[in-house]
């Protein structure tokens, strides 16, 4: 602060320090008009942010779907070309063994085996029906060998890595007029595709989940009250076993405790102070009594005990969680089981406290010194049940541990543990 007391300064300070002048009447109107305008702009910005998040998730999901669909479309084109060429071959039987069409068809079918084996790698890679060497084929009946690639005599590495499960062909075999067995390979291919589709959900999926939440308490004597959590996650399957997920979750923590309070007054402010100072969150609350138009604070200090209130203090904290988690599938059939674990950033979005007596809310306020950003770790089990080609019902018991105290107050060391059984629906893209 300045210490100089120049006479010009002194004159102006004395005359103008408490100077008052009524602003023009339009000033207040302008102020509230401007506040309205800014409030609308803020809301629009907020909606735009939400829209941007939603658009990002949709874009990621679409990109995932497109990437997996591209493979499917390629495979479809190969099949159609192969079908067309073999049909032509059947229509012109004289070309017989000299015809290049069949080997071409077989060669075209080869990428299909690669694509399909990639897509079906959650189980066994399946050998595709493909053409044997054209020279061995008694045209026009197309005997296509069950090894890939055609003509080379060598199995494709990805197919060899599988369990050598082969496609049943009995239903698709026919005998032609000359007594040779004819085989409907297109039906086989379609069967193969359909079978694969059942077991092969896409790499990208979106999951909605919700759960009741149970939290540890900051001190003995307090009890948890109803809370819930839930959110939306986008997942990407890295391989057969591992899936990574991220998204947005909402989680809530409630606690209530009976505490003795005293009232004291300082400079016109009424303080509500716990009788016993303790290192817990309920000694760190600012409260306001709307019923009596007073402000009350608790600051953990013992005061005059003549006026003691026994009140039920309830505290509620809400967090927006941005998780990054991984799931390791132990097995995956119709029912799947996996281990999940990850870390999350938790942003404080709600902080409320209230004192109630006989069910009547006497005061409300907030807990002081809460950290705005918290980090947590989580672990759990994920049970899945396939509801169809794309939907899976999941039940996931999960434990979440906050990695540091939710309060910045040195006296309060409360790292809550939360437990929830999340029930969710997962939608997988092609």
């Amino acid at each position: 602060m300045s210490t100089d007391n120049h006479f010009v300064d002194k004159l102006f300070r004395e005359k103008l320090e408490g100077f008052e002048q009524t602003p023009p009447a339009t000033a207040m109107e302008g102020l509230f008009h401007e506040m309205d305008r800014r409030s609308k702009t803020r809301r629009l910005t907020q909606y735009r942010n939400y829209a941007a998040i939603a658009a990002s998730i949709a874009l990621i999901a679409f990109a995932g779907w497109y990437a997996s669909d591209y493979s499917s479309r390629n495979a479809r084109e190969v099949i159609l070309t192969a079908q067309q060429q073999v049909k032509e071959q059947v229509a012109t039987p004289n070309q017989g063994a000299d015809s290049p069409a069949l080997p071409q068809a077989a060669a075209k079918a080869e990428p299909l085996a690669m694509v399909s084996s990639h897509a079906a790698n959650t189980h066994a890679s399946k050998r595709l029906p493909a053409a044997k060497q054209a020279s061995e084929s008694p045209a026009p009946t197309t005997q296509i060998a069950e090894t890939v690639p055609a003509g080379s005599g060598q199995e494709h590495p990805s197919a060899a890595a599988g369990t050598d499960k082969t496609i049943k062909m009995s239903g698709n075999e026919k005998e032609n007029k000359s007594g040779n067995k004819s085989h409907n390979y297109f039906a086989d291919l379609n069967n193969f595709r359909n079978e694969n589709k059942d077991n092969n959900r896409g790499n990208w999926s979106v999951k909605l989940e919700v759960s009741p939440m149970f939290s540890s308490q900051s001190q003995s004597g307090s009890k948890a009250t109803g809370a819930f959590g839930g959110g939306m996650l986008a997942s990407f399957k890295l391989n057969d076993k591992v899936t990574i997920s991220s998204g947005v979750r909402f989680s809530q923590m409630n606690q209530s405790s009976k505490t003795d309070y005293t009232l004291s007054q300082t400079s016109g402010i009424i303080y509500l102070q716990p009788v016993e100072k303790s290192a817990n969150l309920s000694s760190d609350v600012s409260l306001y009594l709307p019923s009596t138009s007073s402000i009350v604070y608790s600051n953990g200090m013992r005061t005059n005990q003549s006026n003691i209130f026994v009140s039920e203090l309830s505290q509620q904290f809400k967090y927006l969680e941005i998780p990054f988690q991984a799931t390791y599938k132990l097995f995956e059939e119709k029912v799947s089981v996996g281990l999940t674990g990850g870390i999350s950033t938790n942003i404080l979005v709600g902080n409320a406290a209230a004192i109630t007596e006989n069910g009547i809310k006497l005061s409300q306020g907030s807990t002081s010194n809460l950290r705005n950003v918290l980090y947590s770790g989580s672990a759990g089990l994920e049970f899945g049940y396939g509801l169809g080609k794309r939907m899976t019902l999941t039940v996931e018991p999960r434990v979440k541990q906050y990695l540091h105290s939710i309060s910045s107050n040195d006296q309060v060391n409360f790292k809550p543990i939360q437990f929830g059984v999340f029930t969710g629906i997962t939608y997988s893209f092609d």
Partner: protein
């Protein structure tokens, strides 16, 4: 302290059921004792307004504006070149007050807290519009202190006009130093200027103001109290 509910409390012959239950639980012996306690719960009208403003209550915001607009407009006028600019600063300041209401911790005077916000709003406006002004030739007067009888006749509105007519930088430095009580170092940091520049601007501002006062009020050497 305005005790809004005090008259009602005094008139109570029987406490309402809720408070009666509370009284017995609290263990107070007499109703009057309890009434006294409850009367402590009644806080100033301002504090109630502040809490309602925090919840976005527009009635409370209007009440707060009505309580402080004149005082804050007086502050804004010192930092502005005219009434229109002062109104703009006042508007920006009040918007910030409403938005930052949660940050007021009931420590120190609320008026002082508001005043600081107004000054910051003026400073921000100054930073945005800070332009280089030609430095006018100023004759630095001898430092002479005016007699009290002379200064008592000087009108505050005239002084306000004189301040408003100062070049923006001089006006800002003079206001912050002479009236708000900031140090040269603090002003230098706020305005992003060196301490030396700050001192020089203050000296020039004083000289201009001294000249204007003496010209307007015809202060002669005879009325000088002393010459330093």
């Amino acid at each position: 302290m305005v005790r809004i509910f005090q008259p009602f409390i005094e008139e109570w012959s029987v406490l309402p059921g809720n408070l009666e239950r509370r009284r017995t639980r609290v263990g107070l012996h007499t109703r009057s004792e309890f009434r006294t306690l409850i009367s402590y719960s009644v806080v100033t009208q301002l504090e109630e307004i502040i809490y309602k403003c925090r919840k976005g209550n527009s009635g409370a915001q209007t009440a707060l504006y009505n309580l402080f607009a004149s005082k804050m407009y007086g502050v804004c006028l010192r930092y502005a070149r005219d009434k229109d600019e002062a109104q703009d600063i006042l508007q920006e300041g009040f918007i910030r007050v409403f938005l930052k209401m949660d940050q007021y911790e009931f420590k120190g005077s609320f008026e002082g807290w508001m005043r600081k916000i107004m000054v910051n709003a003026a400073l921000e406006r100054f930073r945005k519009n800070d332009k280089l002004y030609p430095v006018e030739e100023i004759r630095v007067y001898e430092s002479a202190e005016w007699a009290d009888e002379t200064t008592s006749a000087i009108d505050a509105a005239d002084l306000m006009k004189m301040i408003q007519e100062l070049p923006p930088r001089y006006k800002m430095v003079f206001n912050l130093y002479a009236i708000e009580g900031y140090s040269h170092q603090e002003i230098g940091e706020l305005m992003n200027i060196s301490e030396g520049t700050c001192k020089s601007n203050l000296s020039r501002a004083r000289a201009i103001l001294q000249k204007k006062v003496e010209e307007q009020y015809g202060i002669e050497d005879l009325k000088l109290k002393k010459v330093l």
